[in-house]
């Protein structure tokens, strides 16, 4: 039943993934001074786009990938976490999270409205 094109599941997966990304950001900030630590990020959009193209996939099959981008410059202690960048990621993350939540809220409201026959 839970096909990928069910919009509720897609938004739900997005919200779940944003929660995971928030965790990785928290992890990065916590390891701001850890020598040798490389920042991690979540790859989700590509995975979702692929799953949406190949129709009929179950939404549970989508697994956000955690990876090390290794794009930022490495400091002398082998750590490449940059506080400003993490703050920016967090702002972006919270904005998309809020967007998904609002859209999902609206969708549920519509179902509610449709069922509300006086």
């Amino acid at each position: 039943m839970s096909k990928i094109n069910e919009i509720f599941d897609v938004i739900g997966a997005g919200i779940k993934m944003e929660g995971l990304r928030q965790k990785t950001i928290a992890n990065n900030v916590a390891n701001l001074q850890t020598p040798g630590y490389r920042r991690v990020d979540v790859k989700f959009q590509d995975v979702l786009a692929k799953a949406l193209e190949s129709d009929g996939n179950e939404i549970n099959d989508i697994d956000p990938e955690i990876f090390q981008p290794g794009e930022t410059s490495v400091k002398s202690n082998g750590n490449d976490v940059n506080l400003e960048m993490e703050v920016g990621q967090m702002v972006k993350n919270s904005l998309t999270y809020k967007t998904y939540i609002r859209i999902l809220e609206k969708k549920y409201q519509q179902v509610d409205m449709a069922m509300d026959i006086k």
């Binding site: 919009i7 897609v10 938004i11 997966a13 997005g14 959009q45 590509d46 979702l48 786009a49 949406l52 904005l95 998309t96 967007t99 998904y100 609002r102 859209i103 609206k106 409201q109 519509q110 409205m113 449709a114 509300d116 026959i117 006086k118």
Partner: protein, 104 residues
């Protein structure tokens, strides 16, 4: 980016107006059944808008479109026409119930 055309008539399926007009004129044939047919048309219209808004939501989630504003406005637009449809439906049910309860 944002369509700020104030004329919402193009995007809103308010063809129900003609249906209720025929309903008001008892001389015309059809009556209530015609209205229901008009609503059917509106239902499929609203469904189309909803589907296109869902496509834009999926595009946002899969990174094809990164503009939150267009997605939000599309969802808001779809919601508006959906609310109109629900309002019309509730009114029709009310009218039906009143007709059925009419003492003969």
């Amino acid at each position: 980016m944002i369509n700020i055309n104030p004329n919402v008539n193009n995007s809103l399926p308010i063809n129900i107006g003609t249906g209720s007009q025929t309903n008001a004129k008892p001389a015309n044939d059809g009556g209530f059944a015609d209205t229901i047919k008009a609503v059917e048309k509106q239902v499929s219209n609203v469904d189309d808008i909803q589907k296109s808004s869902e496509v834009s939501i999926q595009d946002l989630l899969s990174g094809k479109n990164e503009d939150i504003t267009t997605v939000v406005t599309e969802v808001a637009k779809a919601d508006m026409s959906f609310k109109l449809l629900v309002g019309v439906r509730n009114k029709l049910i009310e009218a039906y119930k009143q007709t059925m309860n009419m003492p003969i």
